[in-house]
């Protein structure tokens, strides 16, 4: 319902924004040539834009608040309801499988390549989901382990000719070790302290890679990283992209499988309990540090594997691929998708990675839109696009 009062409110909000954005949007200065341009039309469009935007914003905010009052806490998102229904689930999974099977053959290589990126993010997201979603540890330096994996493959290959397939397990172990090593001193820190320290680790590793020329070739990076070999057969450029595509699909499936199993295990229960209430958890005999450390190290393992795939796919890495924005993007995948829920993380990765790629048409504006979307999704769906519904352990009495 649009009432006079609301229109009046929107009008004043529009005025406020016109004043607010005046210096930065209307005046364009050039301090080199010492010129000033006034772009009065922006003022006008901005006013109109914010007027309607504020009407819509308030309308939806109102809607959300009303809904919250009636909603029960265990509302199950539609996707989950559909997926629990066998009649829907089986055809859906078949369709999904067919889609991903034929995808690289139907679409041009460019799209396959983008899809590979998105799928790597699915993997990273699921890995980070162990740390953030399940164990409740805010990790802003996840990219550190991604970096470790990528450089491990690149350097091992450069110096010792280690192949992709060997690099995969090696870097997984390396990731686990790094996770343990970095996690141990800091995991007793409280939530936000942990966030900033992990962020620090991420930056430290990147800066070291940038400055330690002898080791990592500095900002120039490492090129000519070979794609995975296929029984020694040369697949050509297109062929090897398709090959990597299927490797990533396999890795994603493996990730979903293992993460699902971890979640429904002694360890997974301990993570969730730890996230809910640390004190009670410890009092029930769970070793806080050890349990957190496993979550952290396992997350690192997946990041590291993702790094190997990334290096093999792009054939060139340099420290700029591992900035803090990368960590933030992965975190956004998890939170916007829906923390703790695998389907959510997958949806989050596809939306967040594919959307900006295809927004390249409006390349200039894509990060602006991206930032705005983050705010909008969080304001209207704070639990993420697809809220997590944990598969709880149901007890059924079976006579033995």
């Amino acid at each position: 319902m649009v009432t006079i009062k609301k229109i009046k409110q929107a009008f004043f909000i529009a005025l406020w924004f016109m004043v607010l954005t005046f210096p930065i949007m209307v005046i364009k200065v050039n301090t080199i040539t010492d010129t000033v341009v006034f772009r009065w039309s922006y003022l006008f469009w901005n006013g109109i834009g914010t007027f309607f935007a504020s009407l819509t914003w308030n309308y939806f905010l109102h809607l959300k608040e009303n809904k919250q009052k009636t909603e029960t806490s265990d509302d199950i998102p539609m996707v989950h309801q559909l997926l629990q229904n066998d009649r829907f689930r089986i055809p859906f999974l078949i369709a999904l499988a067919v889609f991903f099977l034929i995808y690289p053959f139907v679409f041009p290589m460019y799209h396959t390549s983008i899809m590979i990126s998105a799928l790597v993010y699915v993997m990273l997201g699921l890995g980070l989901n162990i740390v953030v979603g399940l164990a409740g540890l805010l990790d802003l330096g996840y990219v550190a382990f991604y970096c470790v994996g990528a450089y491990a493959y690149a350097l091992l290959n450069l110096h010792f000719g280690v192949s992709f397939w060997l690099a995969l397990p090696i870097s997984a172990v390396l990731g686990f070790m790094f996770g343990t090593l970095l996690g141990y001193p800091v995991l007793r820190l409280r939530g936000d302290y942990l966030a900033i320290v992990t962020l620090g680790f991420g930056e430290i590793i990147r800066i070291i890679m940038e400055n330690w020329d002898d080791f990592s070739n500095g900002p120039r990076g490492i090129s000519n990283i070979p794609p995975p070999n296929f029984f020694g057969i040369d697949l050509g450029q297109h062929g090897s992209v398709i090959y990597i595509y299927f490797i990533v699909i396999a890795l994603v499936l493996m990730t979903i499988f293992f993460v699902g199993r971890l979640e429904n295990s002694r360890l997974g229960r301990a993570w969730i309990a730890l996230r809910d209430d640390e004190v009670a958890c410890q009092a029930m005999g769970i070793d806080k540090v050890k349990t957190k450390l496993t979550a952290f190290a396992l997350g690192a393992t997946w990041a590291s594997i993702g790094g190997v795939v990334f290096a093999a796919k792009t054939s060139y890495i340099n420290p700029m691929s591992f900035t803090i924005w990368e960590s933030i993007t992965i975190l956004c995948v998890v939170v916007i998708g829906g923390m703790g829920s695998a389907i959510g993380v997958i949806a989050g990765a596809l939306v967040l990675i594919l959307l900006p790629e295809y927004l390249r048409a409006v390349a200039e504006y894509r990060m602006l839109v991206f930032g705005a979307l983050q705010v909008i999704v969080m304001v209207f769906k704070p639990d993420g696009l697809i809220k997590s519904v944990r598969k709880t352990y149901k007890f059924k009495k079976v006579e033995e």
Partner: protein, 327 residues
């Protein structure tokens, strides 16, 4: 275990102390330059860190967009100064107006950001608010970049070279002097605001216990808004000062400065205002010495390393209260 730590600590202090004394003796002017440079740096960190710490103290949110507010302050000052400069106004008037506009606009942005991106998320999971803050930060950066330019813009200093300071200017410039003096003044004013005014008391009460404060008739929303406004104002002052000091700005300056200031706030004990100031000075001065005597390319590594080391020994920061959680 404890003894190992203490031994290592003593050893490091000893070596650093020895090196330090040697350096002081061999080149006292350089040492003084670094010290004052560090003080300047620390003052700027402090002006930004205050906003982080105050917001965190009240709503336990890392206000990721705070660095952008600081950038917008500097940007507004640049725009106002350029326009007025073209109109041929007097330099003193320009400087004052530029600062006033920078502060007013930063406050307005801080206020608006809170209303849009954080207020609707008061009762949401904390991570959601953090992501919203990150989104806001990204949005503001790109907004300024698109509306102005991605390039660095020269920023003509608004602060003249003071004649009376001429004899000492080779050690510390007039701008640096202004930065330090301004910071001290801002801190004192802020201290008065928090200690003695009504709204200051309301802020402290809200930081202690939001529910209780609301029951006592404190308008919590208003307190939160005020906190954002005050934090934005100090950040804007920091933004203008640093722009005068460095001489150029772009849309991205808020990111690293914000990050460093946040580190400083955590270092001092987040939520504590004296902690933010102390943490900023510690970080600024030690960074200055580190880059001056060791490797400047590892400046940021050093900042994070200090943070990690201090948090390992004092998990709540230097001045943070280390209290046992009540069970």
């Amino acid at each position: 275990m404890r003894w190992i730590y203490i031994t290592i600590g003593v050893a490091i202090t000893g070596v650093l102390g020895f090196l330090g004394i040697r350096e002081v003796v061999s080149d006292p002017v350089y040492f003084l330059e670094l010290l004052l440079g560090g003080l300047t740096r620390g003052s700027i960190y402090a002006l930004i860190a205050l906003g982080y710490t105050m917001v965190y103290g009240i709503i336990q949110l890392i206000n990721f967009a705070h660095g952008e507010i600081y950038m917008i302050g500097a940007m507004t000052a640049l725009i106002v100064a350029s326009v007025l400069g073209l109109w041929g106004w007097n330099a003193g008037v320009i400087a004052i107006l530029a600062v006033v506009f920078a502060v007013v606009y930063s406050c307005a942005y801080g206020f608006t950001v809170e209303k849009i991106a954080y207020k609707p998320l008061r009762n949401a999971p904390r991570l959601s608010a953090l992501i919203s803050a990150i989104g806001m930060s990204l949005f503001l950066q790109n907004y300024v970049m698109l509306a102005q330019t991605p390039e660095f813009m020269p920023f003509r200093s608004l602060i003249p070279d003071f004649a009376f300071w001429e004899p000492y200017a080779h050690i510390m410039s007039s701008v640096e002097l202004t930065i330090i003096v301004t910071t001290v003044i801002v801190m004192v004013l802020l201290g008065i605001l928090i200690k003695f005014t009504r709204i200051g008391k309301a802020m402290r009460a809200t930081a202690q216990d939001k529910v209780m404060a609301a029951l006592l008739g404190i308008n919590v929303n208003q307190v939160i808004s005020t906190t954002f406004v005050v934090g934005s104002a100090t950040a804007a002052i920091g933004g203008v000062l640093i722009a005068c000091h460095v001489g150029q700005i772009n849309f991205f300056i808020g990111f690293l400065a914000g990050l460093k200031a946040f580190i400083a706030a955590v270092l001092g004990g987040i939520g504590s205002i004296p902690g933010a100031v102390l943490g900023s000075l510690v970080l600024g001065i030690s960074e200055s010495f580190f880059t001056g005597y060791f490797w400047s390319e590892y400046e940021d590594v050093f900042a994070f390393s200090i943070l990690v080391i201090i948090l390992i020994f004092r998990p709540s920061g230097i001045l943070g209260k280390h209290e046992a959680q009540k069970v």
